[in-house]
């Protein structure tokens, strides 16, 4: 029994490696802890450490701010619209690319990844220059169109990984039993894809909700939550509210990411591997 448990543990890592690994984790989480801490800071316009005192009152103050709520609402709407488009386009692409080989397949693959592989500034300025050329004033839809473009890959990656593992014989069996293509999709393929669609959708949503660089080009005067935060950084008087909103943003994005991770557990999808 005991030896069994030891084998589960595997070999023990040398101390220096453990120190480096956990040190790395500490480094990754230290700023996040600071965000959590400073949200309760009593001090109004500075960041002195140790904190002067702790309070909950900025949470109330932030919740009463129209501009905060407006920015959150806009970000949620944009993320919903972008995720909707990404779900449709990503699923279509996955359906087309997962089994067939054809001329230009590699190029298609690259095209889907490009919007997140190239720096956001390229996507941003390209979209902006095209919008100006077409004389479109930046609005809600210009933001959503930009976001959808780099969100497709999230859905595509998750769905294509799932489809590749789905035995093709399932679809053949369905056809043998007399189902037509639509019925097979509805009753066989869709239930198989469901969690990967959900996971991909959640990741797309989170990606859009947080996006800043492309948005600064396509937003015009609209303020999504990240843009609101960026604007806040030049306003020392608003520090406490900014701190609280920063904590909210952290929490809002952490939950869906954990859910997406759970959904792809044990299916070998690396949910966030290619953000």
């Amino acid at each position: 029994m005991r030896s069994e448990a030891r084998r589960e543990d595997g070999p023990r890592a040398p101390v220096w490696l453990r120190v480096l690994a956990y040190g790395g984790l500490l480094f990754l989480h230290f700023p996040i802890l600071m965000v959590g801490l400073y949200a309760f800071n009593t001090e109004e316009s500075a960041f002195s450490f140790p904190l002067k005192g702790l309070t909950l009152r900025w949470f109330q103050a932030a919740a009463a701010r129209e501009d905060v709520l407006g920015a959150i609402k806009l970000s949620l709407q944009v993320a919903l619209a972008a995720t909707g488009v990404a779900l449709v386009l990503g699923t279509l692409l996955a359906g087309a690319l997962y089994r067939r080989r054809f001329f230009g397949k590699e190029a298609l693959n690259l095209m889907v990844i490009l919007p997140i592989a190239l720096p956001g500034i390229i996507t941003g300025i390209a979209l902006l220059s095209a919008f100006r050329l077409a004389e479109v004033t930046p609005n809600f839809w210009t933001i959503a169109v930009g976001h959808a473009t780099f969100c497709v890959v999230m859905v595509y990656n998750n769905v294509v990984a799932r489809l590749r593992r789905m035995p093709h014989s399932l679809l053949e069996a369905s056809a043998d039993l007399g189902a037509d293509g639509f019925q097979t999709f509805r009753h066989v393929a869709l239930p198989q894809m469901a969690t990967s669609l959900l996971a991909g959708g959640i990741l797309a949503f989170a990606l859009s909700f947080d996006e800043l660089i492309v948005t600064t080009f396509t937003a015009g005067h609209e303020k999504t939550l990240p843009i609101w935060l960026l604007d806040q950084l030049g306003r020392p008087r608003d520090v406490p509210v900014t701190n609280v909103v920063a904590l909210w943003v952290m929490l809002i994005t952490a939950v869906p990411i954990l859910v997406a991770w759970r959904l792809t557990q044990g299916t070998e999808d690396v949910a966030g591997s290619s953000r």
């Binding site: 984790l25 480094f27 996040i32 095209m111 500034i121 390229i122 037509d180 994005t253």
Partner: protein, 319 residues
């Protein structure tokens, strides 16, 4: 077989007659038509929205910007590209490249031990714990992370407090006085900017390395040990070469993301623009889209070269 009580079997799909069936049958037989139908919406979207925009950007990089009227005319010129070679613009490009390079190296050095531990030693719940612990900061809001660092690095903030407590203030001041690294304080120094960049992109390096190490079969290392290699030897001659594509894959992210960033250079570090800042200012307050466009071509070309080299090194299989 009888249905077990309480376990409803799904009703089998009933074969239908009619339009849907006819369409489905046609699509089943004409595979190319089916493929085309699937691909048309995404192709239209990416073709028009994305590639179309990139193309329009490329075309506009040859347009003429009139300094006096502040207007753009569609007369083609090389002037915007020639302007890239001006000393000031040249500096911007080199500054950005140097930062992207050092951030990439630092991420690889910091990230490798974490990835190595995750892949080789973390088992059971620890594996999940490490994975989540890397993924959460990666997905946490970019602007919040950057903001948090301005808080951390500020004078009177936690780093200054710790340094003071440890009596290391003279050491910090010495480091800040170094040319190229320093600045008047941490938050206005290249060191601070480098820290923030490394922090923000580090998870993008850890995960591909971890995936690459995970794919190295354990028995290869056992074989190396059986053949008499010391742990350090088998690490260097067996594991490292096999894990290297993962490092290259991660470096694509760290390099490309640093190259195109313009928010962090704005928030932390000394004055002196990055490529991204230049693009943003050019298109924004000045309205010189042609110059902004030609500046954008620089990272596109650099990343194009980078990706070609990375492909040679096998990084795409490690993505």
């Amino acid at each position: 077989m009888d249905t077990l009580p309480g376990m409803a079997l799904p009703a089998p799909a009933r074969p239908r007659a009619g339009l849907a069936r006819t369409v489905a049958n046609v699509l089943y037989r004409r595979r190319t038509l089916y493929l085309l139908l699937l691909l048309t919406p995404p192709l239209l979207w990416f073709g028009v929205v994305y590639l179309g925009s990139l193309l329009s950007l490329l075309v506009q990089s040859f347009y003429t910007f009139d300094d006096f009227t502040m207007g753009v005319t569609p007369e083609l010129t090389w002037a915007n590209y020639q302007a890239l070679l001006d000393a000031a613009n040249h500096d911007i490009i080199l500054r950005t490249l140097a930062m992207a390079g050092s951030v990439t190296v630092a991420s690889a050095v910091l990230g490798f031990p974490v990835a190595y531990y995750m892949a080789r030693y973390a088992t059971g719940w620890r594996k999940g714990f490490f994975y989540i612990a890397v993924m959460l900061p990666m997905w946490a809001s970019y602007i919040v992370k950057a903001y948090s660092w301005t808080v951390i690095l500020s004078k009177g903030g936690i780093i200054y407090w710790m340094v003071e407590r440890l009596g290391l203030l003279p050491a910090l001041e010495w480091a800040l006085a170094l040319p190229g690294v320093g600045g008047s304080s941490l938050s206005t120094s290249n060191l601070g900017r480098f820290l923030v960049f490394t922090y923000v992109w580090l998870p993008f390096m850890i995960l591909p390395i971890q995936a690459a190490i995970e794919r190295v079969p354990g028995n290869l290392l056992q074989a190396a040990a059986d053949l008499g290699a010391r742990p350090a030897q088998s690490f260097r001659t067996v594991l490292l070469p096999l894990a290297f594509p993962g490092v290259v894959a991660g470096s694509i992210f760290t390099f490309s993301l640093t190259l195109g960033d313009y928010i962090i250079p704005q928030l932390v570090g000394p004055p002196g623009l990055f490529i991204g800042n230049m693009v943003y200012t050019m298109q924004g307050s000045i309205g010189n889209i042609p110059m902004a466009a030609s500046f954008t071509v620089v990272p596109i070309v650099i990343i194009g070269i980078y990706l070609t080299v990375a492909r040679r090194l096998g990084a795409f299989d490690a993505l």
